[in-house]
Assembly symmetry: C2
Homo-oligomer: 207 residues x 2
């Protein structure tokens, strides 16, 4: 194992794109901004990705493959260790995303990119995400529904929707809450996650 890590041109482009997409959105970010930020040649993005649309997809794939596996593994573990309990399921969804934001190798921008995607009506992007990662959400929906047999189907759908909105915004740090200077990034995020689980859990179980 080498002490110095060599980031390939491809990786550099993906990271730069991730940062910029988080900040300016997909349409609001040009490939020139990406390649300048990544310190690579403008032609490299087309050589490695073929098109801007494909670059966007690959930004998602790089993180979501791993995130989805971690979430599903955590879900299986939660169902095994705490069967019938809601909060461990919510934690299984939130904590892997949280650890991504705390990862030294970046990823903190990615949760904002995810929130962007949520707001995006782009059919091609939605189809890509739904085709490749829709099964994760379906697994979680099923597990949550099993914990809440008394909630009607339509009402539960709504609540899952509200929960997704709350999670997305909170994780993306779009809100008003700034981390106090005395608090570490890690402690701040973990407090956010536990507050989120309490909120969503109570909301889902309402009445």
């Amino acid at each position: 194992m080498s002490a110095t890590v060599h980031f390939s041109t491809k990786e550099r482009i993906l990271s730069a794109a991730e940062d910029l997409f988080a900040q300016f959105g997909f349409a609001g970010t040009s490939l020139r901004q990406v390649t300048t930020h990544a310190e690579v040649n403008i032609a490299a993005v087309n050589y490695h990705f073929g098109s801007k649309e494909n670059l966007v997809n690959e930004v998602f794939r790089r993180r979501l493959d791993e995130l989805s596996e971690k979430r599903l593994a955590a879900l299986r573990e939660a169902l095994r260790v705490h069967p019938g309990e809601l909060d461990p399921i919510l934690a299984a969804f939130i904590e892997p995303a949280l650890s991504l934001t705390l990862d030294r190798h970046g990823g903190s921008a990615f949760v904002r990119v995810l929130a962007r995607a949520y707001a995006e009506k782009n059919e091609r992007l939605r189809k890509f995400l739904s085709d490749n990662y829709g099964h994760v959400l379906r697994e979680f929906s099923k597990a949550i529904a099993a914990c809440l047999p008394s909630i009607g189907k339509e009402e539960l759908y709504w609540r899952l929707d509200f929960t997704a909105g709350a999670l997305t915004y909170a994780m993306a740090d779009f809100g008003l809450i700034r981390r106090p200077a005395a608090t570490t990034e890690k402690a701040h995020s973990q407090r956010a996650a536990s507050a989120l689980i309490r909120f969503a859990s109570a909301g889902l179980r309402a009445e």
Copy 2:
């Protein structure tokens, strides 16, 4: 009062921009798309608004001036009729937005535009919205805090943030839930609103 309503060029541009911004985002919508959609000349947008940025601001102003007033009036009424109760405050926030989506004169796209704005990191836009409409959110925060004296300040801030996320996404109808054919648009929206109030109320009051 005339039976035929004449929509001015300015209004037509605003409505077209609203629709397109909801669908493609601010950066993703070109002024040419806007003027084509509005069936006006390309030069008209510059004549009436001066710049794209200002057009964006005016799209917000057209709806938010009225929406903010309705929300604040409903809040005052809620505090007068149901002092100390949380749910009427939440209703005062949600229902005026809901009625906007049901308005015949459009406005259904606007709630999606609001969600777009929430995801936007654009400092200029955020400043415009905060300067002009931040006081509304502060009034609601204050009223909600007064209902929940036992919740710590930081925890409450988090929960308001989660609530905002849930409200924004749900109102923008970004979720998975499609209206059943047998249900009217109005009934569907009102069910969503009451589900939302139950969810947010329980989440805010958790523990």
